[in-house]
């Protein structure tokens, strides 16, 4: 509006009139707006181009403004779908995901996604409606203490009480969500604050003395790392998602290849180093590759960049990296020394730290013996499965998905066996193409996350690899695919069970399959049909590839119901309480 007036003033009227028009424009810039308009203007200031959400009473004033302003908004069919989609969007775009929901049940429905984003450090802005300030605390209709509920699972949260605080609070929220260690910030917006009239003036800077993340690493510590590398005979780099959040994949590549240090990834760090590079050992951890885990076990120097030593990565801490001097580079000082004693701590952004390390210009120590030793592990203990020729092996399926998409697709997964197989077989070569719920292990995540990922990268293949159980937690979001003809391809790895649960019951509970089998399942083809989505059911291994190729070529969404070997287990594996050197199932 403002822009238009200025143009008209310039072209059709004289100079003096133009000044007049500009004056009006300026007045409009500080004009009185209601709280909802201010929130949306702030989102525009932060270059938010898509909102995932679901309306309801307390947030209706804001939805009314969304309607009037014509903002790009995706209506999920359940708030959990909205927030996981926002997470997928954040993961792939690197920009904060924005989720808007109503008070009470709307807000509590996003709690799982908030916790998921928190533990996986995703930048998110969650705006929840709230009952009016004069009834807060009276157990009013659709009231829930969302700020209280989400305090432990947000990086920060705040309830707005005064319309004039909105611009500052919004500015701070985006700043907190996206800087330092990223995370979700929740803003609770009472209905009366969203309709109160205030002034819109977006601050240019934030002033938060209590929040000053360290980005530049300490030079002395960096030098110590370089000296340790020089001393080392068997170094290894463990790269986590912190590298991806810092956009530091190039810097990691430069440093690791220059110093010729072997690299392993955490589950969430996949894609930060090319999955097909000779220095790459594969993923480490519970279902990681034997070579990667043995490298961690035998190394004399472990350089952790942006990983938090999660227990699924370390196995039992009693046996973790027993020989190693540990370097830990992390933007969050609280992560350093939390689980593993650290010899050289480096607080700072992964990208900056790797840059400073490369800049020291140390001649590479070739570590030939070490490389050879590890290559022997890689060659002698590769991933394996037994092909019976009769059923579709899930491992073969994931390998096929990798080949058919040339390793270029964005892959999202749910949680369970299929997730681990995807991590093992999809050799990610690029950052920001791997979207999975690592820390919280949230079933129901993968499918809506794929929707968000497709919005972040409309022209790239997005494959949602989903278990038959997890799909049933959020499959109502097929509505979004139908409505917008989004080309997400759903690959159901259908083993008619809660596969990972079944595996644990087989291995650790003497095959007592307590509530983990699906003797009766919905007809996924008919479900897809109900949403007007093309679907294939594939049981014969000889048809798998051709059908997948055909479906992949479709412009719109496609659902593949791959019936895979029902009792396949995911190997290799570190059993609970065991160390990296005690992996099971490393050989057929």
């Amino acid at each position: 509006m403002v822009e238009n007036q200025r143009d008209e003033g310039g072209t059709e009227m004289g100079t003096s009139v133009r000044t007049q028009a500009e004056k009006t424009a300026n007045e409009q810039q500080t004009q009185k707006l209601n709280g909802s308009q201010i929130v949306l203007r702030a989102l525009a200031e932060e270059n938010v181009d898509i909102i995932f959400g679901y309306p309801g009473g307390a947030i209706l004033p804001t939805y009314d403004e969304i309607y009037k302003m014509g903002i790009h908004h995706i209506l999920a069919r359940h708030e959990q779908g909205a927030i996981h989609a926002a997470e997928g969007y954040a993961r792939v775009s690197g920009k904060p995901g924005v989720c808007v929901v109503t008070s009470g049940p709307g807000a509590t429905n996003v709690v799982t996604g908030i916790a998921d984003a928190m533990i996986d450090s995703l930048p998110m802005i969650v705006i929840t409606g709230q009952v009016a300030t004069n009834v807060i605390g009276t157990d009013a209709f659709q009231e829930a203490d969302v700020v209280g509920v989400t305090m432990p699972i947000t990086k920060h949260n705040i309830q707005l009480r005064d319309v004039n605080d909105i611009p500052r609070v919004m500015k701070e929220a985006f700043h907190i969500a996206t800087t330092g260690r990223p995370g979700p910030v929740l803003i609770d917006l009472p209905k009366d604050v969203s309709t109160a009239i205030g002034e819109f003036k977006y601050p240019k800077q934030v002033h938060m003395p209590g929040y000053q993340p360290t980005v530049q690493p300490n030079r002395l510590q960096i030098k110590k790392v370089a000296a340790a590398v020089e001393r080392a005979k068997k170094p290894v780099i463990l790269a986590g998602a912190g590298v991806l959040h810092a956009d530091g994949a190039d810097e990691l590549f430069e440093y690791a290849t220059k110093q010729q240090i072997p690299v392993t990834n955490t589950l969430l760090g996949l894609g930060s180093f090319p999955g097909n590079h000779p220095q790459f050992l594969g993923m480490a951890g519970m279902h990681g590759l034997y070579a990667a885990n043995m490298a961690l076990h035998e190394c004399d120097l472990l350089i952790n960049v942006g990983a938090r030593f999660d227990d699924r990565l370390t196995g039992s801490l009693n046996y973790f990296a027993p020989e190693a001097e540990v370097v830990h580079i992390d933007v969050d000082p609280a992560e350093i020394g939390k689980n593993v004693e650290t010899a050289i701590p480096v607080v700072g952004d992964a990208k900056e730290a790797l840059k400073s390390l490369s800049a020291l210009d140390k001649a590479p120590v070739p570590y030939d013996e070490w490389h050879q030793h590890l290559r022997h592990y890689s060659d002698d203990y590769p991933l394996w499965y037994n092909d019976d020729g009769k059923t579709i092996k899930p491992q073969a399926l994931l390998d096929m998905v990798y080949e058919e998409t040339k390793g270029e697709a964005i892959v999202t997964t749910d949680v369970g066996q299929h997730q681990m197989w995807a991590a093992q077989y999809y050799r990610f070569a690029n950052p920001h193409r791997w979207v999975t719920s690592g820390g919280l292990g949230t079933m129901g995540f993968g499918f809506p996350a794929a929707i968000g990922a497709q919005f972040a990268e409309p022209n790239r293949d997005v494959i949602a690899v989903i278990g038959d159980a997890g799909f049933q937690m959020t499959m109502q979001e097929m509505s979004i695919l139908q409505e917008l003809n989004l080309p997400v391809k759903i690959v159901i790895v259908n083993n008619a069970s809660l596969g990972m649960v079944r595996q644990w019951q087989e291995l650790f509970y003497e095959e007592r399959y307590s509530h983990s089998l699906f003797p009766i399942q919905p007809d996924f083809l008919k479900l897809a049909e109900a949403y007007n989505i093309k679907a294939y059911k594939i049981e014969d291994p000889s048809e798998a590839r051709a059908t997948f190729q055909k479906g992949l070529k479709e412009d719109g969404p496609v659902l593949f119901d791959f019936r895979v070997t029902a009792d396949e287990n995911c190997y290799p594996m570190i059993a609970p309480g065991k160390g990296h050197h005690e992996m099971e199932g490393i050989r057929p």
Partner: protein, 172 residues
């Protein structure tokens, strides 16, 4: 081991909740906590006495506190030169016969009598933890009717002398 931690925080809604929640979530046992405004009404000072089993645990408490956006500064002041005080209000059985005795006991502790009734009197004592404990012990035989105590509140002394070994490493 018992440590005294002092934190300055933004005086915003829910900040106490945020911080105590953080402690309980991470299974740190708070022995006492005191909160009050500082010279700047926008900033509060909190003093915690916590029981942790290792330096590493303590390191985590401090780092986690530091992560909170509303926390401005956190220090473990246990090994520093500090002034630390508690306050106790004690209502004790006091007959006309014993009143004098109790008064005599109160004097060396500089405890003051702040209320006197027919069968009881109320005393107020401030001091460090040991002193307050000792006074309560002494008064107990007369018959405690009610007791209310604050936690420790503390400040660093203005003198520069400091203990060398800080019990946490602030990594930089």
């Amino acid at each position: 081991m018992k440590r005294t931690i002092s934190a300055t925080v933004n005086n915003s809604t829910g900040v106490l909740n945020r911080i105590t929640g953080l402690f309980s979530r991470r299974q740190f046992n708070i022995e006492s906590i005191t909160v009050g405004m500082t010279e700047n009404p926008e900033i509060s000072r909190m003093t915690f006495v916590v029981n942790v089993d290792s330096d590493r645990g303590l390191d985590q408490v401090i780092k986690q506190l530091n992560k909170q956006v509303d926390v401005l500064k956190v220090r473990d002041i246990s090994d520093e030169n500090i002034v630390a005080r508690e306050l106790a209000l004690i209502r004790v059985v006091a007959t006309p016969q014993t009143r004098g005795e109790i008064e005599t006991l109160a004097r060396p502790f500089r405890a003051s009598i702040i209320d006197v009734g027919r069968e009881s009197m109320t005393l107020q004592v401030t001091g460090d933890h040991q002193k307050v404990e000792a006074f309560i012990d002494l008064i107990k035989p007369y018959g405690l009717k009610e007791l209310a105590r604050t936690g420790t509140t503390a400040l660093k002394r203005s003198s520069k002398k400091q203990s060398q070994d800080l019990h946490y490493s602030f990594i930089q």
